[in-house]
Amino acid sequence: MKAFAQLYAELDATTSSNAKLAAMQHYFAQAAPEDAAWAVYFLSGGRPRQLVPVRILRELAVAVSGLSPWLFEESYQAVGDMAETISLVLPEAVHSSDDGLAVWIEKKLLPLRGESPEVLAEQLPKLWSQLDRSSLMLCIKLITGSFRVGVSKLLVTRALASMAHLDSKRVAQRLVGYTDLSNRPSAASYLKLIAPESTDEHAQRGGQPYPFFLAHALSQPVEQFEALLGPASQWQVEWKWDGIRAQVVKREGRLWIWSRGEELVTERFPELDSLVHGLPDGTVIDGEIVAWKAATADTEDAFDPQAPTSPSVQPFALLQQRIGRKTLGKKILDEVPVVVLAYDLLEWAGEDWRNQPQAARRAQLDQVIADCNNPVLLSSPVLTGDDWFDLARQREASRSLGVEGMMLKARDALYGVGRTKDMGVWWKWKVDPYSVDAVLIYAQRGHGRRASLYSDYTFAVWDGPAEASERTLVPFAKAYSGLTDEEMRQVDSIVRKTTVEKFGPVSSVKPSLVFELGFEGIALSKRHKSGIAVRFPRMLRWRRDKSVDEADNLATLQDLLG
């Protein structure tokens, strides 16, 4: 436990990838396999469900520290992290436990799940008193499932690969599904990750997907495309869909569907079950699951698996409602049916096709889709244009088509791993976000790196035009990203000086700050006072040049709804 806490502290203290890599290599070289197994699990994003309710942790911390509940709450507001707060207010203990991470997780922490408050009140303080402060903070983060540290899965992969002298793509392959809830890390599973290459590696895979190849953002002006990318004819161009990136795996007579988070989501999409019949064994397809427009006049066209000429995708907000459901009733399945828009073929006839050029994979994919002949599996259309300017013109239709822009894939590129660029590149050429000028009306202190800083804001627009005799500000979005550290410090200081009232951690401020807010999507919402919900809101710019009166009003938002 102490060694892992030490690793956490080192990873947390640096922003350098090389330093993080070195720290992980050092840890893995020393750790027992059963401990390393859990370390890999947590570092690559695995999170067991919460073991103890935060409410109980809070009550116990208050009891053990002897603080008044309000004083604990004030402390939490200043720290911005529950695990850290608890570790800071409990009496400092001498580290007395030699048990490794695996023993702590398997023998001491996992058994706490479902225990009665009385048992927890008896057990937890005993566990806490064995740990020094940094181990204690880590322990509580593991209990609450809030363990996060700034390493990417790719970096973990690289650390393991270099230690085991393996190709990092091979390690990435083996890591797929490692953090799935159904998998319990063990010494054996860790040793498998770092074992030498075996010849039957492919056969061992079962329902395993391939690591997803991820795109990079392209934000240069179109005038530079020719120089940057070469002629448009060398690129495969597709719409960028607003759905769930997924791999459809068909092997051994079974079908598995994996989301980009490497979560097995087969059961979330029962209408895709029928693909088990249409796809031959040894097929893996990469594509996007989208909510598809229910039967309308142009259905025939849209459902033509060969060439859907116009996308009939529904807003992501609808898909999201479906994802949120615990049980999928007939009603929601009827209202929000999904299809797979396929755009890549990773495995065909049991062969790994990732080293085939993009164009060849695409040609074979279209053949697979045609043979499958199932309306839930469509080909994401390939777009053609005379040149980049022509494509840029076509891209202007993105909003009305319900897509986020275009994807550009080099026709001769191979299918890489994660956000790598050595095998070829995928670019996402997104349309500019929607934007409105909004007024900051509430602020809340942030977490983690922004603890104690007022960094989370609620924004409002006017409910009437400037001429209106009486109008008020209606909140419609929360945002906390897009400002530089320096700007955030300035906003923080203004918030402190202009606070009108405090409701718990939230401060209402005298409206004085206007920001240009960007967002990706907009939809009607009954849950919001403004009647509108926006997707991925963030601050694009601080409009110091605008007064509060010049901010936009609800009519602007309603116009964007189209």
């Binding site: 004030e74 400092e92 410090r489």
Partner: protein, 346 residues
């Protein structure tokens, strides 16, 4: 009658007609210590504890109209008996004790409980009413013994030197810098200082405080091999400036009480945060308040509301005093110090 009240110019003693650490120019000022937010220019008369004279003159001007008293020495002014008592914060820092008509008030200024060898240690003074600071007035702030922090700094410096990396330690140039220089193991390698730190070292040395030999960083060439083994003491404002270029590959650290929190540590963006403060931590504040025996406590700059509420729960008559202190670098949350400029001496 209250011996001290809050006025727009600062904390004011009506009976004695003088101000304590005023933030606007006044006729008579009593100064607790020489940090920029407590000692400002423009007052006609200054009264301070004798050990602080050198720094006060260095910061406010050699020609200020300054009268000093030794710690414990009493002065009677308009019927108010005034004396200074060590606050343990920085060289020359003092609490101000006022006695009038049988009532005793003590204004703490800034204070620290743990003795550090660079200034007279904090002495609790019995009083009826205690005016306390509250910079670190939350239970999350609890300091390790400083020996442990110095050992961490030594270790970090040694490890860097072994890799031929310069160790750049950011800290406030008045007080913290000298405390660190006094506390670390100077035998580990050469020590370089920034131009804002060196003049203060001189004042400390002249006052008889041991500060190990230091070199002015500006005199050392980038190619000089001692650079790679050196510990550099610099003010936070030097971070990110062109001044840093001379160090090539370096590791940086920051010494402040705010480094206790992971969030502020990360915001600072330094390799290491060392938790070292010249202010009292939460247990220190409560201990100091208890030691005074005061039934009434006035809380200034920091976590005023929290400390007031806590003291009231303990049965004390506590209230907040609104002041304009807290612009000194350590009292600002570490995130905001980038803009503080009161670093360079005249």
């Amino acid at each position: 009658m209250d011996l001290v009240i809050a006025r727009p110019e600062g904390l004011y003693c009506p009976a004695g007609e003088f101000y304590i650490d005023p933030w606007r120019p006044v006729e008579r000022s009593v100064i607790t210590h020489a940090h920029g937010d407590h000692a400002r220019t423009g007052n006609e008369h200054y009264l301070a504890a004798a050990p602080g004279e050198g720094i006060l003159r260095a910061r406010l001007g050699q020609d200020i109209n300054l009268q000093t008293l030794a710690y414990g020495e009493r002065l009677l002014h308009h019927g108010v008996t005034l004396s200074f008592h060590p606050a343990g914060h920085v060289l020359g820092s003092a609490q101000v004790r006022l006695e009038y008509g049988g009532e005793v008030w003590v204004a703490s200024g800034d204070y620290k409980i743990e003795p550090d060898g660079t200034c007279a240690p904090f002495e609790p003074v019995r009083c009826h009413t205690f005016i306390t600071e509250s910079t670190f007035g939350l239970p999350i702030y609890r300091w390790q013994p400083q020996a442990q922090v110095f050992a961490e700094i030594n270790q970090w410096w040694q490890a860097n030197a072994a890799e031929d990396k310069t160790s750049v330690l950011f800290c406030y140039s008045f007080g913290k810098a000298q405390r660190i220089l006094h506390g670390i193991d100077a035998s580990l390698g050469p020590i370089l200082t920034h131009g804002a730190v060196e003049p203060l070292n001189r004042v400390y040395r002249e006052s008889g405080v041991y500060i190990p030999p230091t070199l002015y960083a500006g005199d050392i060439k980038k190619s000089d091999p001692i650079m790679r083994k050196a510990l550099v003491i610099a003010p936070p404002s030097a971070g990110g400036s062109t001044w840093m270029r001379r160090f090539g590959d370096y590791s940086d650290g920051f010494a402040s009480g705010w480094m206790r929190l992971r969030g502020t540590r990360r915001r600072r963006g330094v390799d290491r945060g060392f938790v070292l403060s010249d202010h009292a931590d939460w247990p220190g504040l409560l201990w100091a308040i208890e030691q005074t025996g005061a039934q009434r406590v006035m809380v200034t700059h920091g976590s005023v509301a929290v400390l007031v509420r806590h003291l009231r729960e303990q049965g004390l008559d506590a209230q907040g005093f609104s002041t304009e202190y807290g612009d000194d670098e350590e009292e600002l949350n570490a995130t905001e110090t980038g803009t503080a400029s009161a670093e360079v001496l005249p």
